[in-house]
Symmetry: C2
């Protein structure tokens, strides 16, 4: 499908994508049928894939460089949750008619920036045309010492539940982008929108937890705290309880919640946080606090894993300051 | 995006996709953030990705099981071209509103059939909804002894150019599907359409060429013979000449060409053959003939790699029986 606004397939690869693979010998300059990686001895390979559709996972008018960076970071966040070090990624792009050369230049500049930031390179992929909407898919690969990857299924009864950073900023940022939360200051709004547009994959934290053997179970929060903690519970055959007063909030999110307590739903069940959620025995609390200091990253205990007797595996109870359960209509984000 | 015709994301994974991952421990039951592979010592990892859009790469009304199988086979064909043995695949699906449970059941049955046929399993992926056309992306992974993968860039002057199987069947099959080639018999039509819908990845051939060190350069023909031989030429800094009378044809393709000599364009420049194209020194001709016998697969020498002086790297001349160049309007398929 020819498109006057952009070059043909091979020229597109040469001009825009091959430079993104230039530092990655395994990509063979994108001039071959496939990439060829030589895995290091003693390392497992961690592989994850995501699809993004314009109008669903990002707004069609979002800045292309930010679409690119968020796409990479969401996948790097999955690698972080396993304690893996990123190696590279493959990308397939179905470009719609709106994708022109300025769009491509910005998109690839975003990829290049985050490739540098995270030490990864483009390994391969495919570019096709679509009547719409723009659809992107990324497969990210990382490595982790053999047998050491963090898993969802290893939580134990009595484990403390920790979360990195702050919760709810991204969901509130999307609300602000849509014209809500008008009472917040411009600065608070920008902070929240940035958190929505540009997640910070917690790679250093994931690696440190893996190396120190501090975490039992781990994942990254993409569906929302309650839903994702439910995934740990399901996989570990446990339930969990969370104290809402302990949820770590940014100043902007704290102010929004103060203005409108109903926003606890966005904070506990909104998606796209991309913080790490992990469980650890009480004995690990001091070393985890020290790790947080070393990484300059909040690591907050917010609840505990408990037996699922009396409820079901994966049940998560959110409790107020008096220990009463807070009922939420929506428990998390279903992408589908 | 809820859809009444099919279950939600988690139920969809449980019911349709998790069974496809059941035999693949690396997939962690699709219950985690990522797959964890343990590469075997001494093996390189070969990775390739493709995107497919309904209405462009397949017809929206194509049988779902055949869409699934062609999608896998196209990627397995890339692995075959490297001499790799397939390990597994990740798949992202952007499902449109037409995808209902019967469609999903057929699609997954097709995946299951080819997983068994080729000894691979589903490693992971993502499922999202799209307002636009059904869009699929696959990342396939294979292994090959370290440093032994076949490449595009290793052709040498004087190498013979070989092709497996027969050429043009798929392009002619698509023509037949669109109501052309009416003079062919029903049986001939079905043969060609089958070749379009269900390519045969030449995995045994690729592996044997790699193991025996018989081939210099190799790739699989997806863009069309001339374009893909051009890719070998570009990467090897050579040109090539091909004798049209030597192109291996199925009886159905031979009859179509006899009826209409203009169809040489479909045969030499039509895409989707998924046969292997490789170069080898003249001294390898006898062992390659023996290999073809052993695999019960036609391996036909169709031309030679030549110096690119006087033309440009990647130039490919198609010659008639009197050595005159046959001019074609379109040299190959651009997917974009």
């Amino acid at each position: 499908m020819a498109n006057a606004k952009r070059p043909g397939e091979f020229e597109l690869i040469r001009r825009y994508f091959a430079p993104l693979a230039a530092g990655t010998p395994a990509a063979l300059g994108l001039g071959d049928d496939a990439a060829i990686l030589s895995p290091r001895a003693g390392q497992d390979l961690v592989v994850t894939a995501d699809a993004l559709v314009a109008g669903i996972h990002f707004l069609p008018d979002d800045p292309p460089d930010q679409i690119a960076r968020k796409m990479l970071r969401v996948n790097l966040s999955d690698l972080a949750a396993k304690g893996a070090t990123p190696l590279g990624y493959l990308m397939t792009c179905a470009f719609d008619g709106r994708v022109d050369e300025p769009w491509l230049a910005s998109f690839c500049a975003g990829l290049a920036a985050d490739q540098t930031a995270f030490g990864i390179g483009l390994l391969g992929g495919d570019t096709v045309a679509t009547p719409g909407p723009l659809t992107l898919s990324v497969t990210a690969m990382g490595e982790v010492p053999a047998g050491r990857a963090l898993r969802r299924n290893a939580a134990q009864t009595g484990d403390l539940v920790f979360v990195s950073g702050t919760l709810g900023d991204s969901a509130l940022g999307l609300k602000r982008l849509r014209g809500k939360l008008a009472a917040l200051s411009a600065e608070e709004g920008i902070f929240l929108i940035d958190r929505y547009r540009l997640p910070q994959p917690r790679l250093k934290l994931g690696r440190a937890l893996m190396e120190a053997g501090l975490a039992k179970a781990a994942l990254d929060i993409s569906d929302g705290l309650l839903a994702d903690l439910g995934h740990i519970g399901e996989q570990s055959n446990l339930a969990a309880k969370i104290e809402s007063a302990r949820l770590p909030l940014s100043p902007a999110a704290a102010r929004a919640l103060q203005d409108d307590p109903v926003l606890i739903a966005e904070i506990a069940a909104g998606g796209d946080d991309y913080e790490l959620l992990f469980t650890a025995p009480s004995s690990a609390q001091a070393p985890i606090a020290a790790l947080g200091q070393r990484l300059d990253l909040r690591l907050t205990p917010i609840g505990r894993m408990i037996e699922s007797a009396g409820s079901h595996p994966g049940a998560v109870r959110l409790l107020d300051e008096k220990g009463r359960e807070i009922a939420l209509e929506r428990r998390g984000w279903q992408h589908f």
